[in-house]
Symmetry: C2
């Protein structure tokens, strides 16, 4: 396989991960990118099957995403929520009128016997998205958060309680028994795989649900292609979301070194921001310093290119040493 060719597999969660996934989609050919998405945040709400991270990735790649909020769709209206509130219904999880079609149609198709992968593939095609988007599993894996208030369902912790309860533990119910995406396992074993990119998503909430599936963790550890992680920690803080707060609560130092240790044995390179260039990381790990904060589309594409360049360097030196 010539350097700079082959398939790229990205592992990602929601908003932060989707930004890099979008960058990757502009840096490689559409048929050379597969995005494997966390489903630990999935839940059933108002009887609807909701897959927040899959939707964020699909909306981001299709251009449907709201550019300000980062979640949901642009030009959204909220008349359903207003009417539901008028009926005394549950309104803590915001569902826009357009977004709702995604959940209603997904729920309908799942009830008709389609797999989550098939539903996601149907949405991808309907929205004209080039890269393949895979749920990490068709089986339910449910992230649960242990707090002083007891074990909470993820969305209860994340949305309803706004990440306020201190986290003492995490569980990914169903992960042990869940079958990881077949297509992802096939890719991970393929000699045509150019790189695995772990997006700058929350390692504990967004990537660990994937790694909690023993088959996927094994396949990643055995993967012949370079595995590159982009640190979601920049200058001792999280770019977005509850990552840093949660790390503190779990007694983990908020640093790129902690991110590196978290993925130890699975990754070949760590991409960090210039702010973290002097951080110590475990030996044997390539460290690439570049701008990791993505504000513009150009930032996303540039980061994607830097990540792929790092992977290609590792892949090239492996081939030379063979």
């Amino acid at each position: 396989m010539p350097q700079g060719s082959g398939h790229v597999l990205a592992l990602c969660g929601g908003i932060g991960g989707a930004k890099l996934a979008l960058g990757l989609s502009r840096a490689v050919a559409p048929d050379q990118l597969t995005i494997l998405v966390n489903t630990g945040d999935d839940f059933v709400h108002l009887g609807l099957a909701i897959s927040p991270d899959i939707d964020t990735v699909l909306y981001t790649l299709s251009g449907l995403a709201d550019p300000v909020r980062g979640w949901g769709v642009r030009d959204e209206t909220w008349n359903f929520m207003a009417a539901l509130g008028g009926l005394g219904g549950e309104t803590w999880f915001q569902l826009g009128d357009r977004d709702l079609a995604t959940h209603v149609e997904r729920t309908r198709r799942l009830a008709a016997g389609e797999s989550l992968a098939a539903v996601t593939e149907g949405f991808r095609r309907a929205w004209g998205i080039g890269p393949r988007v895979l749920p990490m599993s068709d089986d339910p894996v449910r992230t649960r958060v242990e707090t002083a208030a007891g074990w909470l369902d993820f969305q209860d912790y994340f949305v309803r309680r706004r990440c306020e309860p201190a986290v003492t533990g995490l569980d990914f119910a169903g992960a042990e028994a869940a079958d990881p995406s077949d297509a992802a396992l096939t890719l991970l074993a393929s000699p045509e795989l150019r790189a695995v990119v772990i997006c700058p998503s929350n390692p504990y909430l967004s990537i660990d649900p994937l790694l909690a599936m023993p088959g996927l963790r094994r396949a990643l550890a055995a993967c012949p292609a370079p595995v590159v992680v982009v640190s979601p920690i920049v200058g001792g803080a999280a770019v977005k979301g509850p990552t840093a707060k949660m790390m503190g609560e779990l007694g983990i130092e908020v640093s790129v070194a902690s991110v590196a240790r978290h993925y130890e044995g699975l990754i070949d390179a760590l991409v960090v921001d210039a702010a973290d260039r002097d951080q110590h990381v475990p030996p044997g790990l390539d460290v690439v310093v570049t701008q990791t904060v993505m504000r513009t589309l150009e930032d996303r594409v540039n980061l994607a290119k830097a990540v792929l360049a790092a992977a290609d360097r590792i892949g090239g030196s492996r081939r030379r040493s063979e």
Copy 2:
């Protein structure tokens, strides 16, 4: 019971019936009116439990109804439908963004174990509606239409095919086994009942599902209060909808006489429009001539008052002859 007092029970279907129900709600005290509504049109669509006639009655009585269309809610938006269409979903049954909250919340409550009557009561209270609104049954009754194209589900015939196939028969699946509303049966046997009003709904599609429940039909036939029907046929045509077309297809003359014969043995009086004053009806039936076409709120209230006056005359003469 003094004349002009007591409870009024209205039997009705959708748009035409809801108009008179609204008139009745302005003609009697809120706690003296109960509206028993057809559920034969109910269906599950996109996984949502939809009760078109109940919703039309609730929207009409609450003032939420769209004043032009007659169905759905005012100030409606259609972004859900547009997005569903973008996903290749089924868009033949129009669901507005606000209206959708009704179906999602009903579906959620039914799945949680509430009866349709309890859900309807919850919506009635949330929307500040005075009169009681009862589904004809908590058990499923499904109107099916026999056509040259075979047996069709009601909404398939009514909405998707716009009543185009010629009707050769009707069936109300589940009606034999369905338990009619307890509250309606209690009212029908009550000496406090002032009148039963059969609204100008389609007798074959909207009222027959109620009468197809043997217990309700028996209770209506044995009811001590006057039963008054308002003809949905005016001048040999239907005021609205497929009533006349369907009567023709079923070989029934499109006339108030046919309406009278249809309800023979169940009703005491027939309210007809001036256009039909010379029509022959079965002997023994009071015929009241008034304006039955309801364009304004005043028309609705005036018709309600005329219907109640007819009932009170019959009730009064019965009491005198006792």
